[in-house]
Symmetry: C2
Subunit: 148 residues, 2 copies
């Protein structure tokens, strides 16, 4: 398995992203991606490469938080699909991508890691009004995380 | 949310892939991909688009099976990383990709949905000896699924 140490790992260094929620096991951050408003990551705090490096209880807590993110996105952002992925080939420190997707977004129906179908900054109709839904999204997510 | 009905959904039609395991909730199939030996999918049997369309108990069972697949891959195939993803933009019926990855595979360190870094059929050193580990992988996985 990959042996990047904590010192070399960007997810072990001081957080520069907007942290929406943090507890002893994990944190939830906003991803700054103009094409994907609402894109959120759930990051395990300690340096483990794979989900099966965690205990069963920790795995379940991580996934419960991923599902709260998915539910908040569905409740507030009206996406056509949610994409959920833990890859970590470049940064082998467990982090989940939770990505609301819309027909007409830059990669749909491909994964966001595929070649984009439209140029950066091209205005997509699905983005209209989406940014103003981000505050309700954050509020919904925080309320559900804090009551979970 | 996406409204493809069961009749139009390829994951609702008769299975053509090799089914390793099946129960009332889900099935585990082998993905036939020459570049990715060991690539396995966990497919929910009924037609739901998102994990949060399942009950909490069903979600937990699906993820427990995903982790058994990951553990079996780590125990028998010696991958550099495991990729786990539920996307479903093209086929909005919950299915998890569990993909063992190696440095030197066709897309590493990118996601397998990105443009490949080498031509199809190019012999990669990591594939040597891998095919003969597939039988131990299947046996390990089946034993763990049947005892779970």
């Amino acid at each position: 398995m990959t042996s990047v140490s904590g010192n070399e790992c960007p997810l072990c260094r001081a957080e520069t992203a907007t942290v929406l929620f943090r507890d002893s096991l994990l944190r939830v951050i906003e991803v700054d991606d103009a094409d994907y408003p609402g894109f959120t990551r759930v990051i395990v705090n300690r340096h483990v490469a794979e989900m099966t490096d965690l205990s069963a209880a920790e795995r379940q807590r991580v996934m419960d938080v991923v599902w709260l993110v998915e539910q908040a996105q569905r409740a507030t952002l009206d996406p056509d699909k949610i994409n959920v992925a833990s890859l970590g080939n470049m940064v082998p420190h467990v982090h989940w991508h939770v990505i609301p997707r819309w027909r007409g977004d830059r990669h749909f129906p491909d994964a966001i890691w595929a070649a984009p179908k439209s140029p950066a900054g091209a205005t997509a109709s699905h983005l209209e009004g989406l940014r103003e839904r981000l505050t309700p999204y954050r509020m919904h997510l925080l309320a559900s995380l804090e009551s979970a």
